[in-house]
C-alpha cells in the first residue's frame, strides 16, 4: 500500500460516458494485481466531493504506469474529466484483494457489465500472458457504449458481445451469453469472473451455481477509508460481514448472501 502523487499522462474520452486515465506512479504500478483498486482524492476548494473514491486498476504498463477506466457519475468523475497531462492526483493503492484464478481451469470466462470491464481487462491480459484461453463477455446498452474492443484485440482476445438494443452482438444481456456458453461447454473445466452492477452479479451467481461452475465477483460498495478501519463497506457473506475494501472487493460468489 502506497500513497503517491500520480502524474497524469493522458486522459481520453472513449465513449460518450467513459474515459480512460493514464497515470504514472511507480510503486502502485509495480504492485497492482487484477481486481485490486485505488483510492483517489480529487476535490474542489469546498471539499466537494468530500471522501476519496475507489477505482479499479484497469491496466499496468512498463512497471511505472497504470490506467483507470471511469464512467461519468457525480462530482469526482466530473473533476477527473478535467484532468490534463502533467496534473497530479493523490492516489492510495493498490488496495484490497483481487481475482484468484486457479491454474487448473481450461477456460476462463470473464463477464463484464458496463464499467465492470475496468478490472476484468487487467485480468484478461494476465491470463493471456500465461497462455490461458479467455472468453471475454461484455455488454452495454448500445454498440457505441461498448468498451475497449481495440485493446482486447491487441491482446488477441475477441470479445463476445451483447447489447440491449441488438446493435452489436446478440440482443440481450451478458448473462444470456454466459448462460449459453456454460450450457454449450458442459464438459470443460471453466472458471468465471464477473464485475458490474449488483443485480447482474446476483444473476451471474445464480447461473454459475446452476452450472456448478466457480465464480468470483467484484463487489461495488460505497467506501470511506478504503483500508479497513471504518468498517463502512460491509458485504454480507455466509461467514458474517466482510469488508469490500480489505477482504474484497473480489469475493467467491458462493460466499455472498445476495440482497
Amino acid at each position: 500500500m502506497y500513497q503517491e502523487k500520480a502524474t497524469v499522462l493522458e486522459n481520453k474520452k472513449i465513449t460518450s460516458q467513459c474515459y480512460m486515465l493514464q497515470l504514472r506512479a511507480k510503486n502502485i504500478a509495480r504492485e497492482a494485481q487484477p481486481g485490486q483498486f485505488l483510492h483517489i482524492r480529487i476535490s474542489n476548494k469546498n471539499q466537494k466531493p468530500f471522501l476519496r473514491r475507489p477505482f479499479a486498476v484497469h491496466n499496468t504498463e512498463n512497471k511505472n504506469e497504470f490506467s483507470l477506466l471511469y464512467k461519468m457519475r457525480g462530482e469526482t468523475t466530473k473533476l477527473m474529466r478535467e484532468l490534463k497531462k502533467g496534473d497530479k492526483i493523490d492516489v492510495i493503492g493498490p488496495l484490497g484483494s483481487g481475482f484468484n484464478p486457479s491454474h487448473e481451469a481450461q477456460k476462463y470466462v470473464l463477464v463484464a457489465g458496463g464499467i465492470g470491464l475496468a478490472p476484468l481487462f487487467f485480468l484478461a491480459k494476465k491470463l493471456a500472458d500465461d497462455k490461458k484461453e479467455v472468453i471475454f463477455v461484455c455488454g452495454a446498452g448500445t454498440k457505441n457504449e461498448l468498451l475497449c474492443a481495440k485493446e482486447l484485440s491487441q491482446i488477441k482476445i475477441k470479445p463476445v458481445l451483447a447489447t440491449d438494443d441488438g446493435s452489436r452482438g446478440i440482443k440481450g444481456s451478458v448473462n444470456d451469453l454466459l448462460n449459453n456458453y456454460l450450457t454449450k461447454n458442459r464438459k470443460d473445466k471453466i472458471e468465471v469472473f464477473a464485475a458490474g452492477p449488483g443485480m447482474m452479479l446476483k444473476e451471474a451467481a445464480r447461473i454459475c451455481k446452476k452450472a456448478g461452475v466457480r465464480l468470483e465477483v467484484s463487489m461495488d460498495e460505497i467506501m470511506a477509508c478504503g483500508v479497513g478501519v471504518c468498517l463502512g463497506c460491509a458485504v454480507k457473506t455466509k461467514n458474517g460481514y466482510k469488508l469490500a475494501c480489505k477482504d474484497g472487493p473480489v469475493f467467491k460468489a458462493e460466499d455472498i448472501v445476495w440482497a
Binding site: 500513497q3 468530500f50 467506501m223 471504518c230 463502512g232 458474517g240 460481514y241
Partner: protein
C-alpha cells in the same frame, strides 16, 4: 527555538497533543504502511464490546455536505479477540494508546474495565455516546447527567487506568453532563462523538443508511463541536480532548484556543491518512511563529 508540545491527560503523557479518534484509525496497523505511527500523540482504538458484534446492515456510510454519516453499529470482534490479538500489536508499537469500550448496560462496562485493568492498560475511554446502538434504556448514558454520574462512579473504582469519558453532542446542556463525568472521577472528557442525522435518496425514496439514522462527522460539525468544547472546558478542571471536523492545523488550533488540552482527528484520516501528523506540524509552526514556548500556554487563550 524548540517548542514543547507535550500534554498530560490524567496519568498519560502525550509527546504531542494530536491523537486519532476511535473508529477512524483501527488500532493503527491498517495505516502503518502510510503513517509513521510514532508521530501520533496517541491512538484511541475502535470501540470494543464484551462480546463480538456483527454491526448494522449496509449501507453503513453516506457522504453529505462537508462530512459523512455513519451507522457502523460498533462492529467489533469482542474483548477476548482484542486481548489476544489487537493488544499484542498495540504493545509492539511505540505510541501511547487508549482503549475505547462500550456496553449496553453497566454490567458490560464493569466487566470490560476489570478485564482491561488486569492487563495494566494505561488509559481507557468510556464510549457512552455511540448513536448507532441502543442501550436497554433507549438512550445513551451520556444523554443524562445522572446516568453518566452513576456509570462513571461505578467503573472508576474498578481501575487504576486513566479514565476518559467520551460525550455525545446530542444533548441540551453539555456542561451538565461533563460536570457529572468529572464529579464521578473521570480524568478527562473527550468530545464530541457524532451528531445524529440522516439522508434520503430521492430517486429510490430510501434512507441512504441501512439503519435509517446515523452519526454525522467531518467539517460540517466543526462549529457545533467547537462551541461544545468551549463550554465544557470553561466549566471543568479536568482536560478536554476536542474533536469534531478537524481537518487542518487551524481547525486544531481553534479547539486549543477554546480550551482543549489535546485534539483528536477522526474522519480526516479517511481523506488524508497523514492528517494528524500534518496538523501536529502545522501547530508546531504556529507556536514557533508566534514565539509561544509551549502548547500549554496557548490553551484556552481565546480573547473575548
Amino acid at each position: 527555538m524548540g517548542v514543547d508540545l507535550a500534554v498530560k491527560i490524567g496519568k498519560l503523557t502525550l509527546k504531542n497533543p494530536v491523537m486519532v479518534s476511535s473508529g477512524t484509525f483501527g488500532c493503527g496497523e491498517q495505516y502503518e504502511e502510510l503513517v509513521d505511527l510514532k508521530e501520533l500523540g496517541a491512538i484511541t482504538t475502535k470501540t470494543i464490546t464484551l462480546r463480538e458484534r456483527e454491526g448494522n446492515k449496509p449501507p453503513r456510510i453516506a457522504e453529505t455536505y462537508a462530512g459523512m454519516l455513519n451507522a457502523i453499529g460498533l462492529e467489533n470482534k469482542g474483548l477476548n479477540y482484542f486481548c489476544d490479538t489487537t493488544l499484542k500489536y498495540l504493545n509492539s508499537i511505540k505510541t501511547p494508546y487508549i482503549v475505547s469500550v462500550a456496553g449496553e448496560e453497566e454490567k458490560d462496562y464493569s466487566k470490560l474495565i476489570k478485564a482491561l485493568d488486569k492487563l495494566n492498560i494505561e488509559a481507557i475511554e468510556l464510549n457512552i455516546s455511540c448513536p448507532n446502538v441502543k442501550s436497554k434504556k433507549k438512550r445513551m448514558f451520556s444523554q443524562d447527567a445522572q446516568d453518566t454520574f452513576k456509570l462513571v462512579s461505578k467503573v472508576r473504582k474498578l481501575t487504576k487506568a486513566t479514565l476518559i469519558v467520551k460525550l455525545s453532542p446530542n444533548v441540551t446542556d453539555i456542561k451538565e453532563i461533563a460536570l457529572a463525568a468529572q464529579d464521578a472521577g473521570a480524568e478527562a472528557v473527550s468530545l464530541v462523538n457524532t451528531f445524529l442525522g440522516m439522508a434520503i435518496d430521492v430517486h429510490s425514496r430510501k434512507p441512504k443508511l441501512g439503519n435509517i439514522t446515523g452519526g454525522l462527522s467531518g467539517p460540517a460539525i466543526k462549529p457545533l463541536a467547537l462551541r461544545m468544547v468551549y463550554e465544557a472546558a470553561n466549566c471543568l478542571k479536568i482536560p478536554v480532548i476536542g474533536q469534531g471536523g478537524i481537518m487542518s492545523p487551524e481547525d486544531g488550533l481553534e479547539f486549543i484556543l477554546a480550551g482543549a488540552t489535546a485534539i483528536s482527528i477522526g474522519t480526516a484520516n479517511f481523506i488524508e491518512p497523514q492528517s494528524a501528523i500534518l496538523i501536529k506540524k502545522g501547530i508546531e509552526k504556529y507556536l514557533i511563529k508566534n514565539k509561544i514556548k509551549s502548547i500549554k500556554q496557548l490553551r484556552g487563550t481565546i480573547i473575548s
